[in-house]
């Protein structure tokens, strides 16, 4: 729904096709899985790789994502989110589950060294489609203080918990929690404005 209101005007762009394929899959049309896969796999792989920091683990997580999708496609709520937003969050959550289940010994170095993804650019049409929403979240994150924004970004991109963020920043847990909570409250107010 979100994407549709701000997406391109063509009505049949890649996001609309993906939304339609996800809806078909959710209704029980299993042949739609291939279309969903083709339209989403490169993005979801980048997400799994970022969270897990290991190519083989990311491949396994990705396989797990699509198998789960096939078995439980009814979980997708077409009213709630655009398919790509839902799929991306689903992939991130599965990758985080895998990360925390202890199957992955993540390297503890700085995040930017973990996986060299910085040179990968989004495809042009996707950039255009999500430009408006992307501008909104970036604008709102920019309104935060550095010490609020950075842990929120690290939680999002690296799957770190409060406790892990506190340890990595040498900050008391309570301080880290209140910083992030203040940041989240400001972020919400901005996103809703």
């Amino acid at each position: 729904m979100l994407n549709r209101s701000v997406a391109n005007d063509r009505g049949d762009g890649p996001q609309e096709l993906l939304d339609a394929a996800m809806t078909r899959l959710a209704q029980g049309d299993r042949t739609a899985l291939r279309a969903v896969y083709d339209a989403s796999v490169t993005k979801l792989f980048a997400i799994c790789l970022r969270i897990l920091g290991d190519r083989a683990e990311a491949e396994d997580a990705l396989q797990d994502v699509y198998i789960n999708l096939w078995r439980r496609a009814d979980r997708f709520d077409a009213e709630r989110a655009s398919a790509i937003a839902w799929l991306s969050s689903f992939a991130r959550n599965r990758a985080i589950d895998r990360l925390r289940s202890g199957r992955v010994l993540r390297q503890s170095g700085p995040i930017d060294e973990a996986v060299g993804l910085a040179d990968r650019q989004p495809l042009p049409d996707r950039q255009v489609e999500s430009a408006e929403e992307s501008a909104r979240i970036h604008h709102c994150l920019d309104q935060l203080e550095d010490q609020q924004r950075e842990p929120i970004r690290r939680a999002f991109f690296d799957g770190l918990t409060y406790a892990q963020l506190a340890t990595k920043n040498n900050t008391p847990l309570g301080t880290m929690k209140s910083r992030i909570r203040r940041g989240l409250a400001r972020l919400k107010a901005c996103l809703e404005s």
Binding site: T42, E59, R136, L165, I180, L187
Partner: protein
Amino acid sequence: MSPRETMAAEYALGLLEGAELLEARGLMANDTDFAQQVGWWEDRLAPLFDELGEMNPPANLWERIQAAIDDPAPPAETVLLRHRLRIWQGAATLAALAAAVLAFFTFVVPLPGSGPTPQAAPLVASLDLGKDKPRIGVTVMPGAKEMLVSTAGIASDGKHQHQLWLVPASGDPRSLGVLTADHENRMAIPPMLAGRLDQGATLAVSVEPIGGSTTGLPTGPVVATAKLQKI
């Protein structure tokens, strides 16, 4: 933000651990307003994923996914179950459970209105409470919303109940529910845990006060553990 709204944001970001995480998972399963708030955050944050760009997976990944989906290539669900259970019934202690499972899943599969019907093999675990004691049998049909837990032959002492847990490789056990003694318990699978009831997942049974643990974690002795296995 209210504490509940804050928790929705924290859960969407994955910040929570321990008891707070358990509480949030419970809300996800039972509180649609909370689940919608989590979805709101996920949707608003999702454009950030664009920063990661796109990566090509290995060329054979689709084949791997297809192979996993197709294996084992099942005939009609119930016929397959009947066949498997007939073999399984060779284990005499589980025969009564097997019959109950068959009746249960013959009734519930396919799930109405649930999209693709599950076709993977059922998963079972047999939790051994000790020599000459009955076992607790757990049967999970991948994709189903309920599982069957047999406590046939287990007596209640009137003060305690067994509670079933999913034990992750790391992190806290997650409650799957409190078991009624000497009963075929049909139990809803917490949606957040459904994907984790997989081959090799570890289950445990603890002894708890009537009504189950009040802390969200096992408080009494763990009297049995077993892994889920395909049959």
